[in-house]
Symmetry: C2
Subunit: 378 residues, 2 copies
């Protein structure tokens, strides 16, 4: 269980397979986020159709509502939300630090108030693991503390606490059908990151996550951090870059040896009418699209692009019809899942590195915007 | 085209087939409502899966947004919303009278202000038909005036105008691939209804609608009106009871010779967390369901009931996740479509009349509530 096989390597990029109790995960993989045991507006059938293989759900949210014990009583998260493929839960740490009210951290754990009703709760490494065991995802996370990347003193303190909590999480974890991943922290300081990578790599985790990125640092800082961390991690364990990212982040992350990604971006953009496309990000509410008979992206194979015109989707947006969010979510998720799957193929046939510049030109939103304004399309 | 075959009769109830350019419609049939060219929150795939055969869309709404000319430019309503099966549009009359601001009726037509932006518009019978020809549904409606059923003088005036407008609608209609239905009005006055039924039946409409019901009259008045009208209508034309209704209305309507129904109720109830079930209407937000591992209705064959527990659906509702509305809509629509399909089978095998009391006991919400409170389930 949880054996990780590497099928192909190209530079630092890897194409692998992670064996889980709910089936094999081909990596690199992008995981849609189902915060509250649902990927917003989509049925599991729709997620299967767009070829999602791994879903993430949030421990903090499910603990508060409906409660991890209820989920356990209903047979666990897979059964509760009817997702038959692999799942991952985070530790709840990041949400306690970013969403909860009036949190108080000590070496034992964190006391916080719920963002929903202000009720008082306490997470410790042991509690986070117990909740995640109740939820029953295939991949679960050690409890960690995510620091402000620009605060060096805090980053060091949070990293040291994360290391102690990593050992306690390992100690607490009992279910053999779950892979517990450790988390590398350390802000954007290369020395702290190296220390953290070496420490977490020394513990018997079957996989390693890189936390504390995509939280306000620059793209250069993210890349430099990955350049420090991934070379220090064991080859034979999957690496998961938490909460990342944009299409260009996926390309850059895979090139730096990352295997697993998750992000709310595709579904969040969809709710704001924005769609990925191979010719640039589109805001489908734009009046330009009102008579446009083309699909969102002519090169996309998703249900939305096979079926509906931009004109129809724009009508749904203007008429405030919720189907718009569903259709754009399907497209955006499929776009990232397909991008990552295509990259896997390139790694296998040894062409990924040569394709990185073209992929970035196609998918980097900033690069596209510059190109578009040169072409006077904007 | 639009030939109507009756396969079986039992009392006044009929099982038939209406041939349309988008396939054969088995009647009786219940049509989900897709007001703005979308059945709220559902994809066409989901509608096909729950066996919807006829969809209704609203002329008033589509004329205002995105505009019937845009829909025509996009290939018509079927193409625009990607619904390959039969469609029906209403005349816009009812919405002008119920939704638009400051309307002014004269013998030529109605001037009104849009409920969206207050802009000024005018509908005449000729305009309504022109819009419906642009939209391109298989079944379209003559322009009519729906009166307050309790105002006899107005009901007579509105009926007479509806008759003149019926003739003008017939005159204006040109597309041979659309069936134009006339509409019987007359409020709840049996004499007016008889006059209207005879007049509309005398015109060369391929089908006849009964309008002005489910607008504030009692159930007894609705039944009495149907008892007056349907016996005066030709056997060989389909009859459509507009905007109706509840499960018990469908049972009572079919027993009185109605073939086609439409109603927003299943999707509207779903958005308010209410589900039809064979043991009574359920409000799924109720805390009773928080640990309930059963499907909404154990006797239902819909995707929602085959897949999800009440506990999960309640969680989605409490967590304000839109998937709740989607899942309950699927269930509620399937429940009515299946009820009507089952009744068709009963008519064919001659058992419908004997089953009416049991069907009403099962599906009449008031009867169920009485039974439930006796059983102390409420």
């Amino acid at each position: 269980m949880f054996e990780y096989e590497i099928n192909a390597k190209e530079g630092r990029a890897r194409a692998g397979v992670l064996h889980t109790p709910h089936g094999d995960l081909q990596t690199p993989v992008f995981a849609p986020v189902g915060t509250q045991a649902t990927v917003k507006t989509l049925t599991p059938e729709q997620l299967k159709e767009l070829d999602a293989s791994l879903l993430l759900s949030n421990t903090y949210h499910l603990y508060l509502r409906p409660g991890d014990e209820l989920v356990a009583e209903m047979g666990g998260l897979h059964q509760f939300m009817q997702w038959p493929r692999p799942m991952l839960t985070d530790s709840g740490g990041f949400q306690v630090f970013s969403l909860a009210k009036t949190r108080k951290i000590d070496d034992e754990g964190v006391t916080f108030k719920s963002h929903i009703d202000g009720s008082r709760h306490r997470f410790t490494p042991e509690k986070s693991i117990a909740i995640q065991e109740n939820l029953g995802a295939d991949i679960i996370m050690a409890f960690d503390e995510c620091s402000d990347p620009n605060d060096h003193v805090y980053s060091q303190k949070a990293m040291e606490r994360t290391h102690r909590w990593a050992e306690r999480s390992l100690q607490a974890h009992q279910r053999a059908d779950q892979a517990l991943f450790g988390i590398v922290q350390g802000g954007v300081d290369p020395d702290l990151r190296a220390t953290s990578a070496e420490f977490i790599a020394s513990l018997p985790f079957p996989g390693i996550a890189i936390g504390g990125l995509s939280v306000g640092e620059t793209k250069e800082e993210m890349h430099r951090t990955l350049d420090v961390v991934t070379p220090l991690l064991p080859e034979n364990k999957p690496r998961y870059l938490m909460g990342v990212g944009t299409p260009e982040d996926l390309i850059n992350g895979i090139a730096r040896g990352v295997d697993i990604f998750d992000c709310v971006l595709p579904t969040r953009l969809a709710r704001h009418h924005a769609a990925f496309s191979s010719t640039g990000r589109l805001n489908l509410m734009n009046a330009t699209f009102s008579h446009d008979p083309r699909p969102i992206d002519e090169s996309c194979d998703c249900y939305t692009c096979r079926t509906f015109t931009r004109a129809y989707i724009r009508h749904l947006i203007v008429a405030k019809e919720l189907l718009a969010g569903t259709l754009i979510s399907i497209h955006n998720l499929r776009a990232l899942i397909r991008l990552v799957k295509d990259i896997r193929g390139f790694i296998v046939d040894g062409s990924f590195e040569s394709k990185v510049p073209a992929l970035l030109a196609q998918w980097d939103n900033n690069a596209q915007r510059q190109k578009q304004s040169v072409n006077l399309n904007l």
